[in-house]
Amino acid sequence: MPDYEITETLDVTGQNCPMPVVKTKQNVDELRDGEVLEVVATDPGSMSDLGGWAETTDGVELLEQVEDGETYTHYVRKTE
């Protein structure tokens, strides 16, 4: 079991670049510090894109990325 609680889930299944990153950012902005957004995507590019975005962007921490068949799930925590 992960040691964090999911605050909200964003479903971007079926959507392609740049929407998974862009919508993740928009949704993270709505969270409070410490809260976690679960992002469910089917775009394989979201693995690299969300990873790069989280690494470069202040105030977010990528907790985990899970690949399960054609679904890519990302867990992002808002920090600061």
């Binding site: 670049c17 740049p18 862009v22």
Partner: protein, 191 residues
């Protein structure tokens, strides 16, 4: 290993002087850092093309950069203006000629109606692939605070009206505004 320590002679600055100089230099570096990293990174894009395929890159990069925390301006000039034109942006065309990757020879692509056909095929692909439309990307960019600028000279040249553009589009700007944005930007692109 030498154990010699330099001894101060009359010509050398003493320790207190050096400490003062270091403190001065540190203060200067802090000032410079504050000037250079004045918080938000910036991106400036010049969008000059109005074909369906060339409308995508500036909009995708603009919204993505905004997601990265960049302050983004996109200066639209010449055919790039059509991306911001509420009516024309819905009818951006894909050229059937001039692109050797098209699955048809140029001589056939040049026949009447072929641009419309290739455009329709591309629009179908965009829909099948759930790729965002130009209108969606523009709306998302505006939501994220991207500043879309419509070049005033081209507006006049094309005889467009300011009311023809999407709400939120900045008009009344020229090359000097674009240069200023580019000068301040960390990333500058001409598309």
């Amino acid at each position: 290993m030498s154990t010699d320590t330099p001894t101060a002679s009359d010509g050398d600055p003493d320790r207190a002087e050096l400490e003062t100089r270091i403190a001065d230099l540190e203060a200067q570096i802090a000032d410079l850092e504050a000037t250079v990293n004045d918080g938000q990174p910036k991106m400036s894009i010049i969008a000059t093309k109005g074909t369906l395929d060339m409308a995508y890159p500036p909009l995708i990069l603009a919204s993505t950069a905004a997601a990265f925390g960049y302050e983004v301006t996109v200066f639209h000039t010449f055919w790039g203006l059509d991306i911001l034109h509420e009516e024309r942006s819905k009818n951006l065309q894909l050229s059937a000629v001039g692109n050797p990757n098209m699955p048809m020879p140029n001589v056939i692509g040049a026949l009447p109606g072929m641009d419309r056909l290739t455009t329709r095929l591309m629009e179908q692909r965009i829909e099948d692939n759930d790729t965002a439309t130009i209108a969606e990307l523009l709306g998302t960019g505006l939501d994220m605070g991207v500043e879309f600028q419509a070049c005033q000279m081209t507006i006049d040249l094309m005889d467009y009206d300011e009311a023809d553009f999407y709400d939120g589009v900045t008009t009344g700007v020229g090359a000097a505004t674009a240069i200023q944005d580019m000068a301040e930007a960390d990333i500058q692109l001409l598309v």
